[in-house]
């Protein structure tokens, strides 16, 4: 439409201007601010002027170090054993006011391991909680993305059959999507409850009491898994619908041809359905990944990051710092780290799933 009748700079700016300005002011500006503030010591309210601090926030968040220690030996040269395990020099002596190791000052033990032999390797982090938050968030994404995408595809294939009343089932499977995740989280707290929770009662009933009740959210080894299961339950209908719209773009003539050729169900899926869903698959993976990295409400309502930091997440940490402790610069640095992670992962997904020519 390059016609001279459609040229109008004034109309263009007048009509697009308001929306563009709002997006510039409330999405692009804060995004740039996040980057800028992460190099300062900005607080929400502060009597002191804001100062440039360089990479200090990032160093504080991401500082890690490894340390390999030999066990303590007594005067005779034998390894000191305490409670059946060799004893190692205390880390505190190295991380607290030790003039020889200023690089370790303020660090705490994250985890340690032993690669055979007597020495033990310690991994120290300046901010252990944030490290745990990163790990938990990655576990969440790595489980949720494939499982949710796979289940959603299964449901979409199920719903794509020609059966009387199939639309009723589609409507039901989609229902949790319109319910707020905050409501869902609070509701599932009672389902996961350790004493009178529905889940424990159900498991007890079907196993005739063999499965003992579990405090699903109060136990560090089950809390994150419980939140993962619930999150998938809530959001799977969303991606089912996107798969469905992908399925409906595949030409029926392909299926007819396959039926004439006598293809098996698996062959039909492998050679017709799946290739037809390529673009949908890429989109769904990227969307789920982006949504999953934003994990916050479930944590805030269900566990507050506990027990023992087993459900800390990147966004929960960003909010706790930026809002809870009013440390805008620290929260901004976490936001930037999150953005870099999300961006690199979606670029990677795009690259891995590119059309191979």
């Amino acid at each position: 439409m390059a016609s001279k009748f459609t040229v109008s700079n004034r109309t263009g700016w007048l009509m697009a201007g308001p929306a563009v300005l709002l997006i510039a002011g409330f999405v692009i500006l804060p995004f740039l601010l996040a980057i800028a503030l992460s190099f300062t010591n900005q607080r929400l309210v502060s009597p002191n002027p804001t100062e440039f601090v360089g990479l200090a926030n990032y160093r504080q968040l991401l500082g890690v170090a490894t340390l390999t220690l030999d066990p303590l030996r007594d005067d005779a040269g034998a390894v000191v054993v305490k409670d059946g395990a060799p004893e190692y020099p205390s880390l505190r002596s190295l991380t607290r006011n030790n003039p020889d190791r200023p690089d370790l000052a303020g660090m705490r033990e994250w985890f340690s391991f032993s690669l055979g032999g007597e020495s033990r390797t310690y991994v120290l982090a300046r901010d252990v909680v944030f490290m745990k938050a990163i790990v938990n968030t990655f576990i969440f994404v790595l489980v949720v993305a494939p499982v949710q995408a796979g289940l959603a595809l299964g449901l979409a294939l199920l719903i794509n059959q020609r059966l009387r009343g199939i639309n009723v089932f589609r409507a039901i499977y989609f229902m949790p999507v319109v319910v707020s995740i905050v409501v869902v989280s609070l509701l599932w707290r009672l389902i996961y409850d350790g004493d009178s929770g529905l889940l424990n009662n159900l498991l007890g009933a079907i196993s005739f009491g063999l499965i003992p009740p579990v405090d699903w959210l109060g136990n560090p080894s089950t809390a994150l898994g419980s939140i993962i299961a619930m999150s998938i339950w809530q959001a799977v209908g969303f991606h089912m619908v996107i798969w469905l719209s992908g399925l409906q773009t595949i030409s029926p003539t392909l299926y007819e041809a396959a039926a004439i050729e006598g293809a098996s169900k698996w062959q039909v899926f492998r050679y017709i359905t799946w290739p037809g869903l390529r673009n949908t698959a890429v989109l769904i993976l990227i969307v789920i990944t982006m949504q999953a990295f934003g994990l916050f409400a479930q944590i805030d309502v269900m566990t507050n990051g506990g027990p023992l930091d087993s459900t800390q997440t990147i966004v929960f940490q960003a909010i706790e710092r930026g809002y809870g402790k009013q440390d805008i610069s620290g929260g901004s640095a976490i936001s930037v780290i999150l953005f870099v992670i999300v961006l690199s992962i979606s670029l990677m997904q795009r690259w891995l799933t590119r059309e191979k020519t």
């Binding site: 996040a34 409507a171 949790p176 409501v183 009672l190 009662n201 209908g237 619908v241 936001s335 979606s346």
Partner: protein, 292 residues
């Protein structure tokens, strides 16, 4: 032989439905549990959780929990705030984003290509990564109101509305939809001497029913279910929406009956609305998938 084959088909059909129903139960049971529990006193609610009575309206049934919920928190205020904030945002969003989409597709102007790519680029910025700097920004923005010039937007309706009126996805959805409309029609109208506003108002908007519904539904879901943002910017009870109001129910001694009553009150109307407009809801989610 024929009879056996027919029986087999019947059996296969029955299995299919059995699978469908079983999965449906998984998706529905927490919601049924929520509504049924909202009518029961706490003690009975927890006892019933051990058997199928959890999903039935049996025993000591009353609206007691609902009355108690209203006493515990200013529920009516929360509901009003949510409806007001959501409603105003949806309407303004439809107006501004459809106008922007119109300008990007039908009008030739300098800068439209660059600006459109910029808007599309914002789609990869998750809200969580801008929430903290946005909080700082909101605490410092000026506003001219009845009491003259004031600074800071915290504890207001505008802080919950203005940042969410325009977003890349909504503009993008309008752009996609308008591209499929016959452009010759718009050009012909221009040749005939119609003003841009007339074209927008009299030609394009009447053809845009489906996309307006889609954009409205997506915005409605996002706004009504907002949690993180209002949590940070509304410390005053008077401005809090329903999802933040939940905090009154789960922080100290949780009274599950009241919790369930409150959850039902803020969820059931949305579910009813969804079931009523089911096709449009599902179509709107599906349309977010076309960008692939």
């Amino acid at each position: 032989m024929a009879m056996i084959a027919a029986d087999n088909r019947g059996l296969r059909l029955a299995t299919r439905y059995a699978v469908l129903v079983l999965i449906a139960v998984i998706f529905v049971f927490p919601l049924v549990f929520m509504v049924m529990s909202s009518f029961k006193p706490d003690q009975q609610l927890l006892q019933d959780a051990s058997n199928l009575r959890a999903f039935l309206p049996v025993g000591d049934i009353s609206l007691q929990n609902y009355t108690a919920a209203f006493q515990r928190a200013p529920v009516a205020t929360f509901v009003f705030n949510s409806v007001f904030v959501t409603g105003v945002t949806v309407i303004l969003s439809l107006l501004l984003c459809s106008a922007a989409g119109f300008a990007f597709v039908f009008v030739n102007w300098k800068g439209r290509g660059v600006l459109l790519s910029l808007l599309l680029a914002t789609l990869i910025v998750p809200f969580e990564t801008i929430a903290i700097p946005l909080l700082l920004l909101a605490s410092k923005l000026p506003w001219i109101g009845l009491d003259g010039l004031t600074w800071g937007w915290l504890n207001s309706y505008r802080v919950q509305i203005v940042p969410f009126i325009a977003d890349g996805l909504t503009v993008f959805l309008f752009v996609q939809y308008f591209k499929d409309l016959p452009g010759e029609l718009i050009e012909a109208a221009r040749v005939e001497g119609a003003s841009w506003f007339q074209i927008y108002r009299r030609i394009v908007m009447p053809l845009s029913g489906p996309i307006l519904a889609t954009a409205a539904i997506l915005k409605f879901l996002v706004m009504y279910n907002q949690y993180l943002w209002p949590l940070m910017v509304t410390q005053e009870e008077g401005y809090r929406p329903v999802m933040v109001g939940l905090q009154y129910f789960f922080q100290l001694n949780v009274a599950w009956g009241e919790v369930m009553a409150y959850l039902s009150m803020i969820t059931v109307p949305v579910l009813a609305f969804y079931l009523y407009l089911q096709k449009a809801f599902i179509a709107s989610i599906a349309s977010t998938g076309v960008k692939g």
